[in-house]
């Protein structure tokens, strides 16, 4: 009887180190560690020269200056060749005037896609789905988003998540539903009864001891 060996790959999870890689990109050979010290949005798209991906790339290029202001680099990926990527970004610029300023991984071996769990066979056996990995300056995965092939991503949400993560890191707070910069933030709830009693007296805007907000 033929022995079937299956390699079990553990998918990346939040608060774990991002899987290391060395990959050919449109900006040369890049390693994950080259991005150390910067935030990184690593995102995959199904294929070059496809309609939804083209709208997304234009949208990523549009928010690129905002990402740069926040110390964030962008890195795209698909299972296409570097020549295909180059031809596509040149075509996008020629047809729409939008220059794609960030590198794109040519993951023909699927090494990076598999390490990051970007191929979902129920969606496509050969293409990557629309994944977004937000990786912090210490190369820890802080957010993972998956979108199906048919749904283009929301750039405002990606910016909002980065703002929320950076606000959390800088101030030791959490952010409530639909939070955006300037809104009140959530004070971490106390974990002792004494703390709960004191919390009400601390001058925050509280619904009760476990839900208090403050202005930054």
């Amino acid at each position: 009887m033929e022995e079937v060996k299956e390699q079990i790959i553990s998918l990346p999870r939040l608060s774990e180190p991002a899987p290391a890689f060395e990959a050919v990109t449109t900006h040369g050979v890049l390693k994950l560690e080259d991005f150390k010290g910067s935030w990184l949005v690593l995102f995959s798209h199904p294929a070059d020269f496809t309609p939804v991906c083209t709208t997304e790339f234009m949208a990523f290029a549009e928010i690129f200056p905002e990402l740069q202001k926040r110390g964030v680099e962008l890195l795209g990926l698909s299972v296409d060749s570097v020549s295909s990527h180059i031809a596509w970004v040149r075509n996008v610029e020629e047809k729409t005037g939008v220059k794609i300023p960030f590198p794109i991984i040519a993951d023909l071996s699927k090494e990076v896609s598999l390490a990051y769990g970007m191929i979902h066979p129920g969606q496509s056996k050969t293409e990557t789905v629309r994944c977004v990995f937000i990786i912090d300056p210490n190369q820890i995965i802080r957010t993972i988003l998956y979108y199906p092939l048919t749904t283009g991503r929301n750039m405002a949400e990606i910016l909002r998540i980065i703002d929320a993560l950076q606000t959390t890191d800088a101030n030791g707070v959490a952010t409530p539903a639909n939070w955006k910069p300037g809104d009140m933030v959530v004070v971490p709830p106390p974990n002792t009864q004494e703390g709960a009693e004191e919390r009400i007296k601390q001058g925050y805007e509280c619904v009760d001891w476990y839900l208090c907000k403050k202005k930054l």
Binding site: H27, G28, V29, L30, K31, D34, F35, G37, S38, E73
Partner: protein, 77 residues
């Protein structure tokens, strides 16, 4: 290769990095600032320049190799 062309000569960004190294800047951070390039591009580019024999790493700094210095003399400033 982003910083070294197939003919072994540095690209525009490669040349910027070599000029920065020649001016006495040695760490990737210093070179990125001087060359106005993203740090990730500089880290990757310095690896390429070292592989091509145009620069070499000493600790956390880079310096020109004799070949890199010679080639740089032929490039516009």
């Amino acid at each position: 290769m982003a910083c070294v062309s197939p003919d072994g000569k540095p690209t525009e960004s490669g040349a910027k990095m070599l000029h920065a190294i020649k001016s006495g800047l040695g760490t990737p951070e210093e070179i990125a600032k001087d060359a106005r390039l993203p740090l990730f591009r500089v880290r990757s580019g310095l690896r390429e320049l070292a592989q091509a024999g145009l620069a070499r790493q000493k600790g956390d700094k880079y310096e020109l190799s004799p070949e890199g210095a010679e080639l740089l003399d032929t490039l516009p400033a």
